[in-house]
């Protein structure tokens, strides 16, 4: 049971990781290109906007993977000092409380995203292509959804660990 859960989560994490690496590659290349272009008095008008939103997307995908590896900043002194039999329950509590709050943040970010989409606001234009602002904003609910999913996986894993399955 525990092994199956881990495999399922690992598949999701692999997809997130691949997207994350691709976004970082674009970010490094675009940022460096902008520096070179600036040296010649040139520059891509949309470059800065794309870079700023790429950071947001990368950050939220990274936050999803941080939840998968339980690497979010937290005060862990109690976890370290706790007796071994209590550790899975503390882990369950930390992930469960985190998941509950993330669900509330996801709901709030979905409202934000829906409002943004309904407004039809423009983020930028690349030539004749208009990029809507909701495309950039979508990274936030997506990120919270990923964090929530990984935290729920961790809750299930902690329960399985506590019950020795």
């Amino acid at each position: 049971m525990r092994e199956q859960l881990r495999k399922a989560e690992a598949r999701l994490a692999a997809v997130e990781g691949a997207i994350l690496v691709a976004l970082l590659a674009i970010m490094v290349t675009l940022a460096f290109t902008q520096v070179i272009l600036r040296h010649f008095g040139l520059g891509l008008l949309w470059g800065e906007t794309v870079l700023k939103h790429l950071v947001l997307w990368t950050g939220f995908l990274g936050a999803g993977l941080a939840a998968a590896q339980e690497k979010h900043f937290a005060w862990e002194a109690v976890h370290v000092a706790a007796p071994a039999r209590l550790k899975p329950w503390l882990r369950l509590f930390a992930n469960l409380s985190g998941a509950a709050i993330t669900a509330a943040l996801l709901a709030a970010s979905w409202t934000f995203f829906s409002d943004d989409r309904a407004s039809g606001a423009e983020l930028m234009r690349v030539g004749s292509v208009v990029v809507k602002s909701w495309i950039a904003a979508a990274g936030i609910p997506l990120g919270f959804a990923l964090v929530l999913t990984h935290m729920l996986f961790k809750c299930a894993d902690a329960v399985a660990e506590a019950s020795g399955k």
């Binding site: 590659a25 520096v35 990368t58 995908l61 900043f73 005060w75 943040l105 409202t111 936030i140």
Partner: protein
């Protein structure tokens, strides 16, 4: 009611609930209490994308992870030893400089103790430095580079405190150099007392070390020189460094194979994600605090008991040393929006406050009993914590003395930004 909620938050924090979730929950609750829609928290969070120079965070972090995975630490120590090893106390000074430079370029202090500790510790012991001194030196210098560009905590502080990154880079550097000088002087005294013999200077060793690190030597010159010289901004320096390090470590030195690159990129972005989500959730909280004038109220409360800016700074130092012992990135994001406006009302320059905060951060890292460096050294060198507490004590006292000097001589942190005419 408020006390119940606060008690609940403290209980959640102790149970290990992630910091971003705690801050998000607090922001949602406060906005809800003020009859503001919950999506307003996310509107504030989305302002992340408009923070100037935010791009520097992922790019510097990626480059730092890449450097840590390469053989750069080995080449750096060899170069520092060849440069400073012949001076009295020179090997210790070499260790200090190598650790400071490495921490600055890799951002997080943990990497330095793990990557350089295993090289510098046997080097110091082999030359005859006492064990306690060697342990104390590495534990202390694991965070020394936080004061030098392009350290990640400086960038994060500048983003949260809304001051120019370039200006804070310059402001923190002089106090950082003061620490480096104080620690070098102490190393010299210890080397004399322990009768450590200086190594003879060798041109051939220096040539070999320079040849070995030929592609890494330009890095600090390009990044630090470029920023201080006004040739490019911190974000541009980050772009150049990320690209350059990738070319040097993957294509030229071949220390990092291509197939390892995605893993390193992923790991570095996990740290970035963990930082940005805390920062994003804090933006909602900060906006509420400013709206409710909480820093103003805190100032009035404090001002009743502490009238002078010097008294406030002393109190602040004690508070920061305790807070910064726990977790540095969260400490910056949570504490700075509250204390910066209070300090401004006391007439303290925000840039001076930034340098002070970073110095406290650095000392907090090695302050017993909870400083992160102590745990890392304990794990790395397999030593019990009480032994490390004793080992870092002289260094800690030295850093506290330096903190006093930096606190009460604002010109130390302010003269370089003024000299460079940074806005």
């Amino acid at each position: 009611m408020i006390f119940l909620v606060l008690a609940g938050f403290i209980a959640l924090a102790f149970a290990g609930t992630p910091v971003f979730a705690l801050m998000g929950a607090l922001a949602l609750w406060l906005f809800n209490s003020a009859d503001i829609q919950s999506s307003a928290v996310i509107i504030e969070l989305s302002r992340l994308a408009s923070l100037p120079s935010l791009i520097a965070v992922p790019l510097f972090t990626f480059a730092g992870y890449l450097l840590a995975e390469s053989k750069a630490p080995r080449r750096l120590v060899a170069l520092a030893e060849a440069l400073f090893g012949w001076l009295p106390g020179g090997v210790a000074v070499a260790g200090l400089c190598a650790c400071a430079l490495f921490t600055a370029f890799t951002g997080a202090s943990g990497v330095t103790i793990i990557a350089l500790g295993g090289l510098v510790y046997p080097l110091l012991r082999g030359r005859g430095y006492p064990e306690s001194f060697s342990l104390g030196l590495i534990t202390t210098t694991g965070s020394l580079g936080l004061m030098f560009p392009p350290s990640l905590p400086i960038i994060l502080y500048a983003l949260v405190g809304k001051i120019s990154i370039d200006k804070l880079f310059a402001a923190a550097a002089v106090p950082g150099l003061l620490l480096l000088a104080a620690l070098s002087a102490y190393s010299f005294i210890v080397a004399k007392r322990a009768r450590v013999e200086a190594v003879a200077f060798s041109w051939s060793a220096l040539r070999a070390a320079v040849r070995g690190a030929a592609w890494e030597i330009p890095l600090p010159l390009v990044v630090i020189g470029g920023i201080y010289g006004g040739y490019f901004t911190a974000s541009e320096a980050a772009a150049i460094m990320a690209f350059y390090v990738m070319i040097a470590e993957v294509l030229i030195y071949k220390d990092v194979p291509w197939r390892a690159l995605p893993g390193i990129a992923r790991e570095s972005m996990i740290l970035v994600g963990a930082i940005l989500i805390v920062l994003g959730c804090a933006l909602g909280l900060t906006s509420y605090m400013i709206d409710q004038d909480i820093p103003g109220r805190l100032f009035l409360l404090l001002h009743e008991h502490v009238k002078s800016p010097w008294g406030f700074l002393a109190l602040l130092n004690v508070f920061l040393l305790i807070v910064n012992m726990v977790e540095i990135f969260s400490a910056i994001v949570i504490v700075v929006p509250i204390i910066a406006p209070v300090a401004a009302q006391y007439g303290i320059d925000p840039v001076h406050l930034g340098a002070l905060f970073l110095l406290n951060l650095e000392i907090g890292y090695m302050t017993p009993p909870l400083g992160l460096n102590l745990f890392l050294s304990s794990r790395r060198f397999d030593k019990p914590l009480p032994e490390l507490y004793r080992a870092v004590l002289p260094f800690w006292l030295l850093l506290i003395a330096a903190l006093m000097v930096v606190t009460y001589c604002p010109s130390l942190s302010l003269w370089l930004p003024r000299l460079l005419k940074l806005q």
